[in-house]
Symmetry: C2
C-alpha cells in the first residue's frame, strides 16, 4: 500500500552529503533558540548569556560501520560514545551528556549488551560525560546504535566550519590514515579466518593502526592545549570521513580554497608500512581513509608562533582564495585538485 513511486533515484547516486543537501534544502528556522541547524558537526542551541548548547546524533550500523567478527563488544560501546564526543569537541566544546539508543536482535544476549555498555561507561568516565538516557529495543537482525551527545561551549569560543579565512593556517592533530589501514588489516584477517578458521589472525606489528580503528579517541586534549596556548581556531571539524572530505567541507562552508602539502601530512610509520604492504600510497590512506577522529582546524597566521611547538599538532597547509581551488601540493611540487573519495557510508553500499 505504500512505497508507490513514479520515479526512482538510487541513494547511491547522490551519496551521503548530496542526500542530506536534498533532504534539508527547504528547512526554515522558527525558534530563536536555534543558532545553527544542519551543516556543522553539531546543532547549536542557545543556552544562557555566555554559552551555547551543542547536540549531535550519530548512527552506527552493524555491517556498515562495524563488523562483529573483529569488533570486541566493549570497544564498540566505547567507539559509539567517542564518535559523538568528537563532534562536540570539533565545535571547540566539552561533551557532558550522552543518550544511547540501542537496538539488538535476539542474537545478542544480556551479557553482550552489558559488555557494550561497559565500553560506553569507560568512555563516559574518561571524558567526564554523564549517561543520561536512552532507548533499548529489539531489532529484526543486527545491532544498531543511535547515539546522541550534548555538550556546551562558550559563545566566544565556538568553532564553526564556515569561518576559515584566506591566509589562515591549516592544522591537524595526531596522525592520519591509521584507522583505515587498521580496517584493511582486520578485513584481510577476517577473510583468512573465514577461509580457514584454524589460522589465527596475524596482527603482529599492527597494534597501532588496529587500535586506531577499534578504539579511537576524541581530541579533547587538543582543544585544551589550544585554550591553554590562547589559540582560538578560526574553523574546525573532526576527521570522520577522511582529510579530503573534511577540508572540502571547510572550504565549501567558508567559501575559500586551500593548499595542503603532502610532505606535511602526519602519517605514522606503522600506517605507511601497512599501506605499502597493501600496495597503497600512504597519502591516499591519509587523505581518504576515514575514522581517525583527529581535529582539522584553521588558525590565524599570527598564532603560528604559539602553535608550532605544541606536540601532536601539524601545520599542513593554508587557506587560499576560493578562485585558487582546493589543492594538494604533492611532494614533487605538483598541485592536485582535492576530491572527496573518502569513507561514505551511503556510496559504499
Amino acid at each position: 500500500m505504500s512505497e508507490k513511486e513514479t520515479t526512482r533515484t538510487e541513494i547511491s547516486e547522490l551519496g551521503e552529503f548530496g542526500l542530506i543537501d536534498l533532504l534539508t534544502k527547504n528547512i526554515s528556522i522558527k525558534n530563536k533558540s536555534t543558532i545553527k541547524g544542519v551543516g556543522d558537526d553539531t546543532a547549536v542551541i542557545e543556552k544562557d548569556k555566555e554559552k551555547y548548547s551543542l547536540v549531535t546524533t550519530d548512527l552506527l550500523i552493524e555491517g556498515v560501520h562495524f563488523d562483529m567478527i573483529y569488533t570486541p563488544l566493549k570497544h564498540l560501546g566505547y567507539k559509539a560514545a567517542i564518535v559523538n564526543f568528537s563532534d562536540i569537541v570539533a565545535m571547540n566544546g566539552n561533551p557532558q551528556q550522552l543518550i544511547v539508543g540501542l537496538s539488538a536482535s535476539n542474537r545478542f544476549s544480556v551479557e553482550a549488551l552489558e559488555e557494550i555498555y561497559s565500553g560506553i561507561y569507560v568512555a563516559c568516565e574518561k571524558y567526564g560525560v554523564d549517561l543520561v538516557g536512552g532507548d533499548t529495543t529489539s531489532s529484526p537482525s543486527g545491532l544498531f546504535f543511535g547515539v546522541t551527545a550534548v555538550g556546551e561551549v562558550a559563545k566566544d569560543k565556538i568553532a564553526y566550519r564556515s569561518t576559515a579565512k584566506s591566509g589562515d593556517l591549516i592544522c591537524v592533530s595526531g596522525d592520519l590514515g591509521g584507522a583505515y589501514m587498521g580496517l584493511l588489516i582486520l578485513e584481510r584477517e577476517k577473510k583468512v579466518f573465514q577461509e580457514n578458521p584454524d589460522i589465527q589472525p596475524d596482527l603482529d606489528g599492527n597494534d597501532y593502526v588496529i587500535g586506531r580503528q577499534l578504539k579511537p579517541e576524541a581530541r579533547l586534549d587538543i582543544i585544551k592545549k589550544l585554550e591553554d596556548a590562547k589559540i582560538l581556531p578560526t574553523a574546525m571539524i573532526d576527521i570522520s570521513d577522511g582529510l579530503a572530505s573534511e577540508i572540502l567541507h571547510i572550504c565549501k562552508s567558508s567559501d575559500v580554497g586551500c593548499a595542503l602539502y603532502e610532505e606535511k601530512l602526519p602519517i605514522d610509520a606503522t600506517t605507511s608500512g601497512a599501506a605499502n604492504e597493501f600496495g597503497l600510497d600512504p597519502t591516499t590512506a591519509a587523505m581518504n581513509g576515514g575514522e581517525d577522529y583527529e581535529l582539522l582546524f584553521t588558525i590565524s597566521q599570527s598564532d603560528y608562533e604559539k602553535i608550532k611547538n605544541i606536540s601532536n599538532i601539524s601545520v599542513i597547509g593554508h587557506i587560499t582564495d576560493k578562485s585558487e581551488g582546493s589543492n594538494l601540493i604533492s611532494t614533487s611540487g605538483h598541485a592536485v585538485e582535492i576530491k572527496a573519495q573518502g569513507w561514505d557510508a551511503l556510496r559504499k553500499e
Copy 2:
C-alpha cells in the same frame, strides 16, 4: 573473535525495563549541569536561571515498531517526530529542535526518503520545531530511525514521574486503546492482502483507530490548556506502552499506589467496537495497548474544580498510599492488581 560468553541470558527474559535497569544501575552523575538522567521521559539538563533543557531519543525500527506494508512513508516520518515531541511534552515542556538519524537499505529510493522527510517537516511545522541536524547512512536491510528531540521547560513547571502524592487525582487526555485496535486491524488486513492480493483492505468505519495508529499527535494542546487553567501536574508521563505500564512507572518512581476506575477510562466507541469485533475487552486495549501518546498525569485534589470542565481530559482515579497497591477497580467493584502487560518491544520479539 568477539561475542565470547560464559553465560547467556536472553534479553526477552528481562524485557525492556528490566534491561534498562540492569544496564544503567551503576550510573554516577559527574556534571553539575545534569539535573536528571535515566528514568523519566527525557533527560533534564541545566539551561539558564529559569529553564531546563530536555533531551530525548527514540528508536523506530522496521519490523519492530512499524511495518512498511501498511505504513505510508509520510506518516512514518510524521510519527518518528511526534513520538519524540510527546516525550518533551510529558515533562510539561515545549519541543523546539529535532535531530533525525535515518538508516535505509538500498530498497529505499531517494524519493522514498523525501516522502519520509516530508512527514517530518509537517510535524515540525505543526509543533513549531526546527529540524537542526541528523545523520543519514545506509543499512544492510530495513529502515531504522534514531530521532532526538530537544526542548525546554520553566524550572518551576517541570513535571517528573516521581512526584505524585497520595490523594492526587489521576487524569488522562484524549481516549485510550485506539492505536492498538488500529494496529490489530492493519495486521488483519495485511494477512488478508498477503493471502489474496486482489482483495482490497477493509478499513471501513475504522478510520479513527487506524489514524490513531498511523498518525498520533503529541498533546501540546493539553499542557497549554493546563497552563491556561493554572494547573501544574504533580507528575506526568506520556502513554507510549499502555496505561497499565505508565501508571506503574509513576507509582514506582513516586513510591505510591493507585486506584483507577474502569468505568472512568476514556474509550472511543470505534475502539470499543473494534475490540468487540476481535473478541477483546475494550478495557484491555485501553490498559495494555500502546502508542496512544496521550498524557497521563496527576494533579492536586484542590485543582479538581479547575480541571473538571476542560475538554479532552478525564479524571480516572487517584493516587493512594503504596501499601494499598496499584489497582484497577472494575465496573463491578472488584479491585484487580494492575500489571504491565503492555507493548514491550523487547519481550514481543
